[in-house]
């Protein structure tokens, strides 16, 4: 079993959102991941984000590939359709679903093996197409279900549980996404819900592809001394970066005028997101500058977090295609079939 039914106990004290739903209404089955798994904290943050955004649960579509991370859609938004697809191929399924029904809120959950090895091509091309999808990459540097092999995000020099040292250069999804023209790029840590929840909210509101890379330690196979994806290592290096916390995005919907280094970006639904750079001169709307700064931090072994880049426009896969506003699944057949007269006319062109 990869889930256990969760008892439906409702606390009267739980606050309701505008839909009259409590945070419990956005939960799913009980997780069967290892106790302490970072992924469960991310699930909790996702639940919070959906609740706060007041999205109708059944208007969400949650998709995943294969791996520990890809099990997690079972654990949130019970009333949403879920699709646990094949390894590394969630982006294509999400792209097709979004093509057919643009009106739903799409969230895809993947891991570093699913995204950066077997699914690297699909991730890249979904970014290029700017599919309106929040893509959460639960990044722990190892393959968990197959017992601890290095993934493509493992840092050079990081140690496996049994002592092997990784010598291959890691693929950094954040840098990758920036080079591919991603319109929303963020990184967070499963252990910092205060940072993660607002990032997820902004990602879910963003029109277009939103990459949220979340460092999510694997307690069973990658939480030991010598690992650069352990809780301890991440906290230590994260703490350093927290002071240089590139874009602490605490309250995404409110504008905080007057604070130094603030950048305001208007989301497609008209709301403003305020990004406050802690690091001097960091401009989250300047792709090239962001890339250079993040590359430098990566080189220094630091885990830069925050909403690292955002380009809010009106463009996504559908706008490029010029699709009707209505979901294609709702276009009546009568509008799709040209009819017998048109065919009769057309036939004369084949003579």
């Amino acid at each position: 079993m990869t889930y256990i039914a969760k008892p439906q106990v409702r606390h009267h004290s739980l606050p309701e959102n505008a839909l009259g739903l409590t945070v419990r209404d956005y939960e799913g089955k009980l997780s069967t991941l290892c106790a302490g798994c970072g992924h469960d904290s991310i699930t909790a943050a996702i639940v919070q984000a959906f609740w706060r955004l007041e999205i109708e649960p059944h208007r969400v579509a949650k998709l995943s590939g294969i791996g520990c991370s890809s099990k997690t859609p079972t654990y949130f938004v019970q009333e949403a359709h879920g699709f646990n697809s094949v390894h590394g191929r969630m982006p294509s399924v999400a792209t097709g679903a979004n093509a057919a029904n643009r009106e739903l809120t799409y969230i895809g959950i993947s891991g570093d093996g699913d995204s950066l090895s077997i699914g690297l091509g699909q991730l890249c091309h979904a970014i290029r197409r700017n599919v309106n999808l929040t893509y959460v990459l639960e990044n722990n540097g190892v393959y968990g279900l197959t017992k601890g092999q290095f993934s493509a995000s493992a840092d050079v020099g990081t140690k496996a549980k049994k002592g092997q040292v990784n010598e291959l250069e890691p693929i950094d999804p954040v840098l990758l996404a920036l080079t591919l023209g991603a319109t929303f790029v963020a990184r967070s840590f499963s252990g910092d819900k205060d940072q993660l929840v607002p990032i997820l909210e902004a990602a879910l509101r963003h029109k277009g592809f939103a990459l949220v890379d979340v460092i999510s330690p694997c307690v069973t196979f990658n939480d030991h001394t010598g690992s650069t994806k352990s809780y301890l290592y991440t906290r230590q290096h994260y703490h350093e970066v927290t002071q240089a916390d590139l874009v602490p995005l605490r309250k995404p919907i409110e504008t905080k005028q007057g604070e130094g280094e603030a950048t305001q970006v208007r989301l497609h639904d008209g709301k403003l997101v305020t990004l406050r750079s802690v690091e001097p001169d960091y401009d989250p709307t300047d792709r090239d500058a962001a890339y250079m700064r993040l590359r430098a931090l990566q080189k220094a072994g630091e885990v830069a977090t925050g909403l690292l880049y955002i380009e809010e426009g009106d463009s996504d896969m559908h706008s490029m295609n010029g699709t009707v506003e209505q979901a294609l699944v709702d276009v009546p057949y009568e509008d799709l079939c040209p009819g017998s007269d048109a065919l009769a006319k057309l036939m004369n062109e084949f003579r």
Binding site: T74, E79, S92, T95, G96, A99, Y333, D335, A342
Partner: protein, 615 residues
């Protein structure tokens, strides 16, 4: 030769260099014959290359309507010095070779005494009359068309009319083309005894017909069936299916304000193409992808997911020669088994086998209905010959009363009234569960997965609940045998044996059966149009002591499938195959059956006898 029998009964082979514009000249020639009311077909035998390699175009003219390929060429237009020798060899004894006499033919090509050489100095004439290298090359092609107009007695008015239509917006091109036509025509008239004994005569037998290729017809079928999301990756010979779909959508699928009622996605590879197709179908769209054998290999994992998770997708396989990259511009029926059993684990898929562009159109529509009714992938198994060549078929028609069969899809109201919804429960006992679409109703939510699941849609690793679902899938798909396009069966009084075939073999097989009839041999015919086989198929096979199963692959895949999926005794089926990459001919059918009959039961100890394997 020389008798009236050769009127409207001949075949041409035109040898040119690819990338020189000969395709449009050849197409025009064929269409002119069609417009004279004479049944005609064109086969493009082309290289996998953009420019500079040998290419051939074959035109068969047949007043009786036999338009399968024939390897028996009455006249060869030899325009490619590189292939002169083999092109001259390819003419039947007593035939004609039309060549560019600007330069002499090489000795090894000029020595046949049983053919007539017709030299036309095309390059010299075009160099004298036209400026610019490209124009001269293009006009040389039009020049041989002009010569053929005289030699074959084609209707000049028809040819002129076509040129005027083609270049309606470019007057200067009309003049140039007319001039080139006249050059060829005049030279041939003055120097040869025109027309030749092989010649055309207006017939009026092509009214209500069109010339179309199968990919275009399939694309049109998808538009009419209401497909909205299409994902594909370029691959010969299926690419033109998307070109067609895109063209028709631009014309028929935009709202008054110009918005698109469809989305076409050129995927990064075939894996993504089928993934997108599955995603769109899961969300409720009619969605398809099109590919060829190599693409099917790449799609295999996802096809298993669609089968197991019961997602209704349509997949066109425009087959080409395999294995591996094979011969990408030659035709074969080598993917029958890899379609029907695509993906790992126990899978069985519905497959439709169109015989011509007309069936590409209707079966495209049927495929969507079947996919949604049975909630499973459906393959439309076409091939390069059907998909890319020019076929004469009756005008396509559409019944405006048609409405898509969406199958058992629950709407918001249905779900509201349900106590609980279980995705994989066999409520009606027909093996087909009910489906809900994302975003419709909270009660419809479930988890679609390729991992083990029970009939309630829950993850499972327990034997019995797993088996219950997977056993139902087999039952569901096999039951579809009664709903798929039924076989075409034609019986004759006192038939000695039967021929069983499928797909694009149909024309050659029918022509062979007619030839047998003339020889006084009665033959029954079964054309399988789909898998799973209906009961009729098995009954037919049991009626006959000898069923010769004719198909275009090395291993006799249809024959093997019949043995696997029916209870027909093995000794009743004899495999006859023709798999060199060219469309099937009557001669291959008759020779193949003769050989199999001479060799006794034609079977090897290891399994199905394969005639061509020793070739």
């Amino acid at each position: 030769m020389g008798d009236d029998n050769r009127v409207n009964e001949f075949a041409l082979r035109i040898a040119t260099v690819n990338g020189t514009g000969s395709a449009s000249a050849n197409g025009m020639l064929m269409q002119a014959i069609f417009r004279m009311g004479i049944p005609v077909a064109g086969k493009n035998v082309f290289p996998s290359n953009i420019q500079g390699l040998p290419t051939w175009y074959e035109i068969r003219v047949n007043g009786e309507g036999w338009t399968a390929r024939t390897p028996d060429f009455d006249l060869v237009v030899a325009m490619n010095a590189e292939t002169y020798r083999r092109d001259v060899e390819g003419v039947r004894s007593g035939g004609w070779v039309l060549y560019d006499s600007t330069w002499p033919l090489p000795d090894d090509a000029a020595t046949r005494e049983d053919v007539t050489y017709l030299g036309v100095p095309l390059a010299r004439m075009c160099n004298a009359e036209f400026d610019g290298a490209r124009t001269r090359i293009l006009m040389k092609n039009i020049g041989y068309v002009g010569a053929l107009v005289a030699l074959l007695d084609l209707d000049m008015e028809v040819v002129r009319g076509m040129l005027e239509e083609t270049f309606a917006s470019k007057k200067f091109l009309i003049d140039a083309n007319l001039k080139a036509i006249d050059l060829g025509h005049r030279y041939a008239s003055e120097h040869f005894d025109c027309p030749l004994p092989i010649r055309a005569k207006s017939l009026g037998a092509t009214d209500d017909h069109i010339i179309i290729d199968g990919n275009t017809a399939a694309a049109l079928g998808c538009v009419y069936a209401g497909a909205t999301v299409v994902a594909w990756y370029p691959i010969t010979p299926s690419t033109s299916l998307f070109d067609g779909f895109s063209k028709f959508c631009k014309r028929f699928r935009h709202t008054e304000s110009g918005e698109a009622n469809y989305m076409i996605i050129q995927a990064e590879d075939e894996l993504a193409a089928i993934g997108m197709t599955i995603g769109a179908a899961w969300a409720g769209a009619r969605s398809f992808t099109s590919t060829s054998g190599a693409g099917i290999s790449l799609m295999n994992e996802f096809i298993g997911l669609a089968y197991y998770a019961e997602v209704p997708v349509v997949i066109f396989d425009v087959q080409r020669v395999g294995p591996s990259t094979g011969m990408p511009t030659r035709t074969q029926q080598g993917d029958i088994l890899s379609n029907v059993y695509a993906s790992h684990g126990d899978t069985t898929h519905i497959a439709l086998f169109p015989a011509d562009p007309a069936e590409c159109f209707t079966m495209a529509r049927d495929a969507f209905d079947l996919a949604e009714r049975f909630q499973t992938p459906v393959f439309v198994v076409s091939d390069l010959d059907i998909g890319m060549n020019d076929w004469m078929i009756p005008k396509l028609q559409w019944d405006d009363a048609y409405r898509p069969d969406r199958g058992k899809v629950l709407g918001a109201k249905d779900l509201e009234e349900l106590e609980a919804f279980y995705r994989y429960l066999d409520v009606d006992g027909d093996g087909i569960p009910y489906r809900s679409l994302p975003g419709v109703h909270p009660k419809g939510a479930y988890f679609t997965r390729g991992s083990g699941h029970d009939e309630l849609g829950r993850y499972t690793e327990d034997s019995e609940p797993y088996k219950k679902v997977v056993a139902r899938l087999r039952r569901k798909v096999i039951n579809a045998g009664a709903s798929v396009p039924q076989p075409v069966i034609e019986r004759q009084e006192g038939a000695e044996f039967s021929i069983v075939s499928l797909g694009g073999c149909d024309g050659a097989v029918r022509e062979a059966i007619a030839a047998y009839r003339e020889m006084g041999v009665a033959v029954d015919y079964l054309r399988v149009r789909a898998f799973p086989f209906s009961e009729e198929v098995e009954a037919f096979l049991r009626e006959h002591e000898h069923n010769y199963v004719i198909e275009q692959n090395r291993d006799g895949q249809l024959c093997r499938l019949l043995l696997l999926e029916t209870e027909v005794p093995r000794e009743r089926l004899v495999s006859v195959t023709d798999w060199g990459g060219l469309p099937l001919s009557k001669i291959a059918v008759i020779d193949g059956i003769r050989e199999a009959r001479v060799n006794g039961d034609g079977r090897e100890a290891t399994g199905v006898h394969v005639k061509g394997a020793q070739a």
